[in-house]
Amino acid sequence: MPYNALKIFLLSLFIVYFFAGFYVSKTIRGEKYLIFPAFLFTQVPPQIGTEYTVRILEYGGKELDHPILFPDAYKLYFDNSIALPHYNSVIRRIGMNIWQGQSGEIGQYIEALERSFLSKPVVYEIVRVKFDTIEYWRTGKTIEEKSIATFNTEDAGL
Amino acid sequence: MIKHTTQNQKNYLTRFEFILQGIARLISKSFPFRNISKIMRENYAFEKARTIVPFFYYFMVIVALYRILDLSNIVNEGQRIFAPRWPIFWADYLHYLTVIDIVHVFFILATLTGAFFYRHRAGRFIVFLGILEYHALRNSFGVTYHNWDIWVWIALLFIFLPDAWGSAHKSPRERKRFLLIFWGAQAFVLLMYSMSGMWKIIAAVGQYLNGEASAVSFDAFSLHISTQLNILPETMTSMLGPLIINYPLLGWLPLIAIIYLQSFSFFIAFRPSLHSIWALGLILFHVGAYLTIGAEFFQHIPFLLFLFLDSPFRDPRASWRQTIADLPIFGWILGYLPKRNITNAV
C-alpha cells in the first residue's frame, strides 16, 4: 500500500471505530464483542442506585430462619472456586432481564447459577435493591429491597 | 652451585609461567572478551543498547503496578512472622500496615521517576532503592524468595551507566563504558543460569558414581516431575508432566538439552552471535519447566527478552556458519573437523 492509501486507511479505521463505539454504547449497553464501548464510567451514577441480588430462602431443603442475601451467602452456599465478579455479572443480567420483562432470555444464566449451589434444593428470590450510593457504602443500609421473582431449583422448565 | 640454583629456579619459574600462560590462554579462549570489546566501539551497538535500557525502567513501572494488586496477599502473610530485612530496618519503628503501604507506594513512585528520569543517575538510583525496599519486604516473612533477586542486581548495575544520552557527548570512551555496563548485566543474567547448570552437572557426576539415579538416567526427568507432583495437591497437576511420567524417554533429551543450555550460558556472554538463540532456548526452558514440573521463574524472562533477543552485540551481518561455529562443544568439534580435512588433503 502506498503511503497515502495507508494514511487514509488508518484515518478511516479511526472514524469507523469512533462511531461504532458510540453506536454500540448507545444501543445495547456495550454488549458488542470486539468494539470498545466509549461509555465506560461516563455517566455519573445517580445518587439513588439500583442493584440486583439473590436472596436465599430455603437451602438444602431446610427453610432458613433469616433469608440471606448473596454477599453473605456466597461463602456458605455457592461454589466459591468461581470468582465473585462472575456471579455479580450473572445475577445482574438475570435481574435486569426480569425487570425489563424479558424473562425468556435468562434460561442459561439461571441454569448456571443453580449449578453452582453446593447443595439442593434451594428456594431463592431475585431481589432488586435500591440504595443511596454513599449511605450504602458507609453503612450498608438500603432504601428498598423488592423481590421480583422467586425460583425453586426443583421446578422444571427452566 | 649458585648458578645451578638460579638455573633451576628459572626452569621452575618458566614451567610455572608456562602453566599460568596455559590457563590464561584457556580462559581467554573460553571467555574471549575481545569479541565484545571489539563491538563496543561500534555506534550501532551503542544506539541499540541505549534504546533498550529505558524499557527496563518502563517495565519496572508495570511490575510495580501489578505488585500492588498483590498487596492483600502480603497483608495476609501475617504480621506474626514479619521480620524486616536490613533494607527496611525503619519498619521496626512503624505500624506493620503503614510499612506495607509505604513500601508499595514508594515502589510505584520510584519506578515512575525512573521511567521519566532514567537518563539521570539519581533517577536510576531511586528505582534501585524502590525495588530494593520492595524486595526486602517480600523477603521479610520468614522464607527467602529469590525470584526477584535478579531485578535488584540489574537495577544496581544500571546505576553505573554513564550519562551518555544526549547526542552531544558520544565519545567512543563513553560508548564503550555504556556498553560495558550493559554487557555486565547480560553476563550476570547468564552467570545465574551457568551456576544452576554447574550444580546439576556436579550432582550428576556424584550421583552416577554412587550408582544412584542421575541426570543421565533415562527416567531422570520423570523422577523430577513425579516427586514434584506428589507434593502438590491432587487438583494441581501440570500439562505435560503426566505424559513424561508415562513415557520417561520423552524427557531424557530435553533434560540433557537444558543442562547444556544452562551450563554454557556464561560462555554465551562472549559469543554475541548466539545471544538471541540462547535467549529463545532459555525462554523455552522456562516455559517447559512450568508445563512439566510446575516451577515458574518467569521473572527472569523480561531480561532474556530485553537484553538478548535483540542484543546490541549481535552483528547484523553474522552468518549462520559463524553462529554454529560459536556453539559450545558442537562448534569446537566442528572447529577440528575442517583442519583434519585440510591436513588430509595436504
Binding site: 461454589d79 | 554513564p162 560495558l180 552467570l191 543460569y193 544452576s196 550444580w199 523430577h224 513425579s226 506428589n230
Partner: protein, 167 residues
C-alpha cells in the same frame, strides 16, 4: 563519578566472580541453614530425586465420625478434611508449613518428646476444619513414579495414631 573504562571492566569482572564465589560458598556451607538474603547459588532441581524415597506423612483414618475404608494420605484429603475447594486451597497454600510441622512431629514421636508433640499437634489440628479427625503419623517409603501413578507405597511405618480435638 567517572570511572575509567579499564577500572570499570575490572569492577564488573570482580562483581561477577564474587557473586559466583559467594554462590558456591552458600551452596556448600549454608545449604541447610537459612538462606542468604539477596545471594543465591541457583541450585534448583540440582539432584535427580532418588527412585526410592521416604518421608513423613499423615494418613486420615476417621473423619466426622465416619470411618474411611482406605485411609487417605493428607495430600489427597480434599473433600474429606476440607469441605470446600477454597478452604482446601487455603490450607494447601500454607502446605509447606503443614509439611514442616509433620517433619518435626514425626521425630518427636520417635524420641517421645511429649511436650513437643502436644505443641505440634495443636499447630496441625488448628488447620482442620472440623473435628474429630483420627489421623496417623507415618513414615512412607515409595517410588515417586509409582506413587504418582497409582498411589502405591512400598512400605508404611506407623508412628502413632491421634484423634484431633478443638484446642
Amino acid at each position: 563519578m567517572s570511572l575509567s573504562h579499564s577500572l570499570l571492566e575490572k569492577l564488573i569482572v570482580l562483581f561477577l566472580v564474587s557473586y559466583f564465589v559467594v554462590g558456591v560458598y552458600a551452596h556448600f556451607y549454608i545449604i541447610n541453614q537459612e538462606e542468604v538474603y539477596l545471594l543465591y547459588s541457583w541450585d534448583l532441581y540440582t539432584k535427580v530425586p532418588p527412585r526410592i524415597q521416604t518421608e513423613f506423612a499423615i494418613l486420615i483414618h476417621e473423619f466426622e465420625g465416619k470411618r474411611l475404608e482406605n485411609p487417605i494420605i493428607f495430600e489427597r484429603a480434599r473433600g474429606v478434611l476440607y469441605s470446600s475447594l477454597t478452604e482446601y486451597r487455603h490450607a494447601t497454600y500454607n502446605k509447606t508449613n503443614i509439611q514442616n510441622i509433620v517433619r518435626l512431629l514425626a521425630p518427636s514421636i520417635l524420641q517421645d518428646k511429649t511436650r513437643e508433640i502436644e505443641r505440634l499437634r495443636m499447630e496441625l489440628e488448628k488447620t482442620f476444619l472440623s473435628h474429630p479427625v483420627v489421623y496417623e503419623v507415618v513414615e512412607v517409603t515409595f517410588n515417586p513414579i509409582e506413587r504418582w501413578k497409582n498411589g502405591r507405597f512400598i512400605n508404611i511405618n506407623r508412628l502413632g495414631i491421634f484423634t484431633s480435638q478443638v484446642f
